[in-house]
């Protein structure tokens, strides 16, 4: 038992460190974000420039084969790069869907000429991809989508609506799940396509989130035409393609919880007064500091076990689902308690209360989204119960029914 790198891992880490030191900009504080002060267009241009640099060095798609533009590296090397990059101010959530979902799906399912067309511009960030699965009537139940694709000659005509599409407003292409047969049961009538996000009939509307940000969009399709050669997999074989996309996530050892939340809590509790004493002296506050540590360190250690599996060439198991389950709720609980430290003043926005409060206030407003995104707490509990503990699946009444009857 030992937390150190193997000699090979240490060597790779040293290379990454040297490259980042020469090319990146070190982070000054935990909540410093990329491109602060730039407008959206300038921020995107800067992000693309960074991605191009990273791709040239081979770090944009570490686990991909070299012939596809990757480094031919191991999942562990990917994780090492991520760990090191975390100390730098880099674009967040711009290329993740391209590299993690869109392009791997193209790599698995598209014809050679399409791979040649899309992979390199995608890796280098010239083109950005989004994922179009969720719909207003199909969230956790992705098989219930209703966006329609109808064949007309050598083209497909798409109509319908997608939702919760990250970054659709700056994306160039998307992988799009559609319904092509309404008389088959829900998961058997689906087909996947590559869609040009700038095509006529594609309309993108930002979603105004409860946090005030707009990271996600609704995407409307009105008679959008897609040539048949952009189909991924068989007609009505879209469910299988989608599962292969989501399988890519199994190698990510997920559940990002900042590792310094208890320190933020301690710093704030030093400055707040309870009954004329620093709140930090109060046993109730100290209990919650201990709780914060137990949750975040626990998540970090579970991830370390996942990394140990990766380091030994194994795939982390479905038990990794608990990292997100614990992390998202912990974020909510810890940030809510941070606000409580200031009592009635805790509701005053950081703009007036002080920058010390920015991090926890943003976390508090963002955490409900974290609990829902990528599987709600309830869906994840089902995953743990069924896939880890082997308990029976939910009773389903929709498995054998033609989708037309369910959608009626």
């Amino acid at each position: 038992m030992d937390f150190r790198d193997t000699p090979e891992e240490a060597e790779f880490r040293a290379q990454v460190r040297a490259w980042l030191a020469a090319n990146g900009q070190k982070r000054n504080s935990a909540d410093e974000t990329f491109g602060e002060g730039l407008d959206d267009a300038a921020k995107l241009a800067a992000a693309k420039a960074w991605q191009a640099k990273k791709a040239k060095a081979g770090y944009a798609a570490i686990t991909w084969p070299k012939e596809a533009g990757g480094l031919g590296g191991t999942p562990m090397q990917h994780v090492i790069y991520q760990q090191e990059e975390a100390a730098y101010v880099v674009p967040g959530m711009i290329f993740e869907v391209s590299i993690g979902m869109g392009l791997p799906t193209v790599m698995m399912w598209a014809a050679p000429e399409l791979k040649a067309r899309f992979l390199r511009p995608g890796i280098s960030g010239q083109e950005i991809w989004c994922q179009l699965f969720s719909e207003p009537a199909a969230g956790s139940d992705t098989g219930g989508i209703r966006t329609r694709a109808e064949k007309q000659g050598e083209e497909w005509v798409i109509s319908g609506q997608k939702v919760w599409t990250s970054g659709a407003h700056f994306c160039d292409y998307g992988i799009l799940l559609t319904r092509t047969d309404w008389d088959k049961p829900k998961q058997e009538g689906l087909t996947m396509f590559i869609v040009d996000m700038k095509a006529p009939g594609v309309e993108i509307r930002p979603i105004h989130q409860m946090s005030g940000d707009s990271e996600f969009n609704e995407v409307f399709f009105t008679d959008v035409r897609i040539a048949d050669k952009y189909r991924l997999g068989e007609v009505n074989g879209g469910w299988k393609v989608m599962l292969s996309t989501l399988m890519q996530e199994r190698l990510s050892v997920g559940g990002n919880l900042p590792t310094d939340l208890h320190r933020h809590l301690i710093a704030l509790a030093r400055k707040c007064q309870w009954d004329g004493h620093p709140a930090l002296e109060d046993a109730r506050v100290r209990d919650r500091i201990a709780d914060a540590y137990l949750q975040q360190q626990g998540v970090g250690l579970i991830i370390s076990r996942g990394l140990t599996a990766l380091s030994r060439g194994k795939t982390p198991g479905p038990e990794m689902a608990i990292t997100k389950l614990v992390a998202a709720k912990a974020m909510q609980d810890i940030s809510a308690f941070a606000l409580e430290l200031a009592g009635p003043e805790g509701m005053v926005g950081f703009e007036a209360l002080g920058n010390d409060w920015r991090y926890m206030q943003r976390l508090w407003l963002g955490s409900p989204g974290a609990r829902v995104a990528g599987g709600t707490d309830e869906v994840l509990r089902n995953v743990v119960a069924e896939r880890v503990l082997g308990l029976p699946g939910e009773i389903r009444t929709d498995r054998k029914v033609p989708f037309r009857e369910l959608a009626g």
Binding site: M1, M76, L307, I322, R381, V384, A385, V388, L391, I395
Partner: protein, 362 residues
């Protein structure tokens, strides 16, 4: 990154697991529960014979000379099978106190007898919580006088390590001047006794200050007990899960109801958090890392809450039958509580954890 035990360590764990599955059965544990024997002597004999109990005692003192990582895995199995033996008193506390605080002569005198199973020992290293009052003990340099109101395994032990003021004092308990009264225990598989000492020959452990040694031993014991708790918590989840697949209500296996699925997912989640904190504690203990105080407190709190939760909800999952004497659920309910109180309550350790975190953040 290698945050796991080695294959050799897992082999030892499997051997201990197999032995305990065969010998520390429900029937055997109930013999102790119902007062037909004071402890599981056969299980104790096996744990000694395999070199499992003395895994962390060096070979120079007739131990197995393996290490703490091995002892942690032995502890996990002892917890899983509710072994009714004085493992924690003898090996996590008393032997460790002598190993860390004793002179060479003191180690030679007692550790081989402990490692060979000839001597059961116990320790009272100080508690911050009391109702009956702190032990009223006087050590005059040669003899120990006074009473210990509550001592785990007090009636089994032939040797006592006790904190008197800032010193650790060791005394043999089989001679004249020792009175021992067994106390009823909420977990009768783990006994307590009241000890009276009158002019009992005793000596100070060499290392000073004893309080520092005591804290180091308590931290180590917190990690080892966390493994017992993790083992017990995993087992009661297994038992509850199996029952939920057998029992039918409203035409279905009760384990198919989401309310129970989610409850078991929550138990599993807490168990896994406890497990990784225990592993981290094992790493800190075995590498003598400066993080030991923090890691041990975290392991103690996470494992205490996880085992109590699993044991409480285990009965709930079983329903009425879980409340009967014949089902084993209450054995886990009792053991979880015993392990969680033994080294001081969860609240003391939570406070210790917070103090460590605040110290580190300063």
């Amino acid at each position: 990154m290698n945050f796991d035990f080695s294959d050799d360590q897992r082999l030892l764990q499997e051997a201990v697991c197999k032995m305990l599955a065969e010998t520390s059965t429900s029937v055997e544990v109930r013999h102790v529960l119902e007062g037909r024997k004071p402890y599981s002597d056969g299980v104790w004999h096996n744990l000694i014979g395999m070199g499992a109990a003395a895994a962390a005692i060096p070979e120079a003192y007739d131990g197995a000379g393996l290490g703490y990582l091995e002892l942690c895995l032995v502890a996990e199995e002892a917890g899983r099978y509710l072994a009714a033996v004085p493992l924690s008193s003898t090996f996590y506390l008393a032997a460790e106190a002598i190993l860390h605080g004793g002179s060479e002569a003191q180690k030679q005198r007692w550790l081989p007898a402990i490692a060979r199973g000839e001597l059961i020992a116990t320790a009272a290293l100080g508690s911050r919580e009391t109702y009956l009052g702190q032990p009223a003990l006087v050590f005059d340099g040669k003899t120990l006088n006074g009473t210990l109101p509550v001592l785990a395994d007090g009636a089994l032990a032939g040797l006592l390590v006790v904190r008197v003021g800032d010193d650790l004092v060791v005394a043999e308990l089989k001679g004249a001047g020792v009175t021992c009264e067994a106390l009823p225990s909420l977990d009768p598989t783990r006994p307590y006794a009241r000890l009276g000492l009158s002019a009992v020959p005793a000596e100070k452990l060499a290392a000073a200050p004893g309080a520092v040694v005591a804290q180091r031993v308590l931290d180590g014991a917190a990690v080892l007990l966390a493994f017992e708790q993790v083992g017990g918590a995993a087992r009661i989840l297994d038992i509850s899960r199996e029952y939920s697949l057998e029992r039918k209500a409203f035409g279905r296996q009760i384990g198919s109801f989401q309310a129970l699925k989610h409850k078991m997912a929550d138990i599993y989640t807490r168990n896994e958090l406890a497990r990784v904190h225990a592993y981290y504690g094992a790493w800190a203990l075995s590498s003598d890392a400066p993080e030991l105080a923090r890691a041990a407190a975290a392991a103690r709190v996470a494992a205490t809450t996880a085992f109590n939760f699993a044991a409480e909800e285990g009965i709930e999952i079983h329903g009425g039958i879980g409340f009967t004497w014949e089902m084993d659920c209450h054995l886990y309910y009792r053991r979880a509580r015993h392990l969680g109180q033994l080294l001081g309550s969860e609240h003391q350790w939570r406070a210790r954890l917070a103090a460590e975190l605040i110290k580190e953040a300063a």
